[in-house]
Symmetry: C2
Subunit: 233 residues, 2 copies
């Protein structure tokens, strides 16, 4: 049965941007499972699948509803063990939690800083109001007063934060080793979020991280590449 | 046959401090393999086991000599597959490379900044000269001119750098999941290096990282705890 995949979108349903949803999209593609995406705006998230306080992504697989990108990856691994592995063992599953925390705590704040208003601009009006309210609460100031955008020092900070990945790529082509695992999709999600929402040139052409990101865009019949990078307004 | 383990020491052979050697000491203990440590000063490193340009740690297991903490862990895993696993699968092995890069690029520079002169003070005279020459070359200035020591802002920076580990520990007790793997020993090595060389109080009592580090000190009959923390001069 085709899996339903609730994916966050703005005004263009063909340009999904959520980092967490990209993790799930890549995990589904990795498992080779047929899925149908349900484009979902910010204001539709809480009530997905009859919920009252849901977060995105959510999948429905037959009678089973699973929420949260990591829980979805664990569910897919447990439910479809004969398909390509997302973790390559318990050590890989556990360490993916570390990669998740690293990406969330170091990359996400920097991507948010660079792309904040780009993301706002991608949304329809009701979602803009939701985004403004929640983000102004988080940052404690008006959206327009949050320092953001592709300033050189922010791009430099993101590149500095990527140094552990860059160093690791001197040893192996993927966080998963010789081929990608869910840990790669976690970090890919953060950089794909930036690629789809911001026109900023962040990665240098001669960077090992760029080579890795390009390899990730190529995976699963170019699942990531099918969405064009953001264009300057 | 007992494995020979070349371990870096200063003037007190009972206070090994190298982060890379601690990874190996913990890996050997994890595998439950009998080993005999060969206390080795900085000036003895290059020529260990008949070498000309060696780095520490090195082990000799029968006729096999292995250098580099990660290579040693891989060797032990391949050679003693029936003993407790260090990686729990290929995904865990590959992700440990990411943890290694993260620890090396984010924690090591901060530990170095805090403990630089403490480490210098632990050494015998010929090793002090070696340490001074190599570190002055690295930092481009006299050792005494490198900003170092346990200043509050450096301790804060180290705690900030540990945030991904702290966040992950909200999900599970070890990087390896429910029990420790080599990835834990990689990060333990960095903090044990600091514990043995610097008297600075770096980790707060109510920190998840402190709980994890305490669990690591307890492992393998308290292998890490057997070396007392550094005392203020």
């Amino acid at each position: 049965m085709t899996i339903l995949f609730y994916d966050l979108v703005g005004s263009d349903a063909g340009r999904p941007f959520s980092p967490h949803c990209w993790k799930t999209r890549m995990a589904l593609a990795h498992k080779g499972l047929p899925f149908e995406s349900v484009p979902t705006p910010f204001t539709g998230v809480k009530t997905m699948e009859g919920g009252t306080d849901r977060t995105i992504p959510v999948i429905r697989d037959g009678d089973t509803v699973v929420q949260d990108s990591f829980a979805i990856a664990e569910y897919l691994e447990a439910t479809y063990p004969d398909r390509p592995t997302l973790f390559a063992g318990e050590g890989g599953r556990a360490a993916a939690r570390f990669v998740e925390a690293w990406s969330f705590k170091t990359l996400h704040p920097l991507v948010t800083q660079i792309a904040l208003m780009d993301i706002f601009d991608m949304l329809d009006e009701p979602d803009r109001a939701h985004f403004r309210r929640t983000r102004e609460q988080r940052f404690g100031r008006r959206l327009e007063e949050v320092p953001c955008g592709a300033a050189p020092e922010r791009i430099a900070a993101l590149n500095a934060a990527l140094e552990p990945l860059r160093t690791m790529l001197g040893h192996q082509p993927f966080i998963g080793g010789s081929s990608p695992l869910f840990a790669d999709y976690i970090v890919f999600g953060a950089l794909q979020w930036l690629r789809v929402s911001s026109p900023a040139n962040v990665l240098a052409p001669d960077d090992l991280v760029t080579d890795w990101f390009t390899r990730c865009l190529d995976l699963h019949e170019g699942a990531g590449r099918k969405v064009e990078p953001a264009k300057a307004a």
